[in-house]
């Protein structure tokens, strides 16, 4: 058993980091929206799904038919990133406008918004399964997995000990961390970032500072959507397939990562995502990969018993004075 663990430790770590990086990117959307509105946006998993389909649309439109390399690959990845970010970001803004804002304006309870979130989630999944995938993606069976062309060569780039590191793993990990650093900088250094933090810490006082809360909420959804869009693209790159309910399990895992790291806390989302990815992949060595989800959620329960606010605690808003 221990020998297995030593043998598989390297590959599991790389796989865990790649999976965790995607959880972390999705988790940012949950955590930012929670920080600003104290709302769990359960339809965020579908924003991720829309990111995968935005990427797929570009690949189909361009007719990419073989793995790319060099400048062509870089150009393709940049184009895919922009389209996935805009696609998911716009979907997130529309979601807020249609499913949450009217309730907020009426001063309804957060429970109502939660039900609305679940409704929006089911609506978007079914919309894709019944309408979008059969008609726009030319795939009559809307509930099947939809494969895509391999975009880049997946021969190992280099080997560390017994661990092969594939270029797609490297791209996923590096791109996720770069996005997180950019987001952290945006929230902590920019003027809009100050507006987001002020709104998270005390929305009423934020209005007294001249902050337009509706605008801040819209930006928060957009930015969280962009991160989910990139996550969707990276998922597509790594696994080369998607489907209408691809967001379901990943969304729950990402939500778990957000809670694990401390919901409302951006760095917590990164930490929680990577930790979750590593734990479930390491655990799978002992118990088999069928037990991944059991391991992930057991760890969540145990950590929350001892640290109910997650590893880093809340920080976007901090405890209210």
């Amino acid at each position: 058993m221990l020998n297995d663990f030593i043998d598989q430790f390297g590959p599991s770590t790389v796989g865990g980091l790649a999976a965790g990086a995607i959880y972390a990117l999705i988790a940012l959307g949950y955590t930012m929206v929670y920080g600003v509105l104290r709302l769990i946006n359960f339809a965020h998993s579908e924003i991720f799904m829309i990111g995968t389909f935005s990427g797929l649309a570009v690949i189909m439109t361009l007719g990419v038919s073989e793995p790319q390399s060099g400048i062509a690959l870089i150009g393709l990845l940049l184009l895919l990133s922009v389209v996935a970010m805009v696609g998911s970001g716009a979907a997130a803004v529309a979601l807020e406008q249609i499913a949450y804002r009217p309730l907020r304006k009426k001063g309804s309870s957060r429970l109502a918004a939660l039900i609305s979130a679940i409704g929006a989630s089911i609506f978007l999944q079914e919309l894709f399964a019944i309408v979008v995938i059969p008609h726009l993606y030319d795939h009559p069976r809307g509930r099947d997995n939809i494969g895509t062309q391999q975009l880049l060569d997946k021969e190992p780039l280099f080997t560390l000990g017994n661990t092969d590191v594939r270029p797609d793993h490297l791209i996923v990990i590096v791109a996720s961390i770069a996005m997180m650093i950019a987001l952290d900088f945006f929230v902590n250094r920019s003027r809009i970032g100050r507006g987001i933090r002020a709104t998270a810490q005390n929305p009423e006082t934020a209005v007294l500072m001249g902050i337009n809360i509706d605008r801040i909420v819209r930006i928060t959804f957009f930015v969280g959507g962009c991160m989910a869009g990139i996550a969707g693209l990276l998922y597509l790159l790594q696994f080369e397939e998607t489907r209408y309910n691809i967001g379901f399990v990943l969304g729950i895992k990402a939500f778990t990562a957000a809670v694990l790291g401390g919901i409302g806390n951006l760095r917590g989302a990164l930490l929680g995502g990577l930790a979750l990815g590593l734990i479930e992949n390491w655990g799978a060595i002992f118990f088999g990969s069928a037990w991944k989800d059991v391991i992930a959620f057991t760890v969540l329960v145990v950590i929350l018993m001892f640290r109910p606010t997650g590893i880093l605690g809340e920080s976007l808003q901090v405890a209210r004075a």
């Binding site: 003027r191 100050r194 507006g195 933090r197 002020a198 810490q201 005390n202 009423e204 006082t205 209005v207 007294l208 500072m209 001249g210 902050i211 337009n212 809360i213 920080s315 976007l316 808003q317 901090v318 405890a319 209210r320 004075a321």
Partner: protein, 246 residues
């Protein structure tokens, strides 16, 4: 008239919190609203800042009807507020809190910051301390300083003496007098009625969402009814505030 409120009604759900309040604040005055908990003082200030919608009646500021202007735009018009409970951003430093006051406007802030730090030397010593870790008095200074950073024509102060020791209350009231002397109009909500009446030019007494009385502050200090109801034993006693917003 700088600020003119006529027959303003505000509801929380079906409950009528303000039942037709009319009041006026003239350029350069200190006006105070006194009254018991739940009289509607805080709701009045919140509604002036646009945090609560008006059911009927109107708010005019510098002659312009602002009843329908959204809250965040009223700041730029010149309505600044230090809110109930201070509303300091706990995860930001003193300096960041002050800068938030200037969020909506552009231009050089160094002179305004210098003026606020001049009024509150204590804050200058603690620029990098986080708001959430400060004492009540210091947080009150942050809240007032931050409201001044919005460059208000009228400064709304909600219970600046709440929970503070008598010596600090006197200090805060001195600073309010100084702010007014430098040309900012002040609308002050207080439970600490005797000190508020000594500071203010005019006063309104609120009771259950209505204006019970309005007069020059000095007259109210000698009014037997007001003395009995509001000046009884509250001198220097910091009172527990319960939110009237429900």
């Amino acid at each position: 008239m700088l600020l003119e409120i006529s027959d303003m009604r505000v509801h929380y759900g079906k409950i009528e919190a303000l039942k037709g309040i009319s009041l006026e604040v003239d350029e350069g005055e200190i006006v105070t609203l006194i009254g018991a908990n739940g009289a509607g003082k805080t709701t009045t200030l919140k509604t002036i800042s646009g945090l609560r919608p008006v059911s009927s009646g109107s708010i005019r500021f510098q002659g312009k009807n602002i009843t329908k202007v959204p809250g965040h735009k009223r700041v730029l018009l010149g309505i600044g507020q230090s809110p109930e409970g201070r509303g300091v951003f706990p995860g930001m430093t003193v300096h960041e809190n002050l800068l938030m006051g200037a969020y909506a406007r552009k231009g050089d802030l160094s002179k305004d910051l210098e003026e606020v730090y001049g009024l509150f030397p204590r804050l200058a010593e603690r620029k990098t301390q986080f708001g959430g870790t400060m004492s009540g008095g210091e947080q009150q200074m942050v809240a007032i300083g931050r409201a001044l950073m919005t460059k208000p024509r009228v400064l709304l102060l909600d219970e600046p003496s709440m929970g503070l020791a008598p010596l600090l209350v006197a200090q805060i009231f001195d600073i309010i007098r100084e702010i007014n002397r430098r040309g900012t109009t002040v609308l002050l909500v207080e439970q600490n009625a005797s000190q508020a009446l000594q500071l203010a030019h005019r006063a309104y007494v609120l009771e259950t969402g209505q204006v019970l009385k309005s007069a020059p502050a000095a007259d109210l200090l000698n009014d037997p009814e007001v003395r009995a109801a509001y000046l009884g034993g509250d001198l220097g006693q910091p009172e527990e505030e319960t939110s009237e917003t429900g």
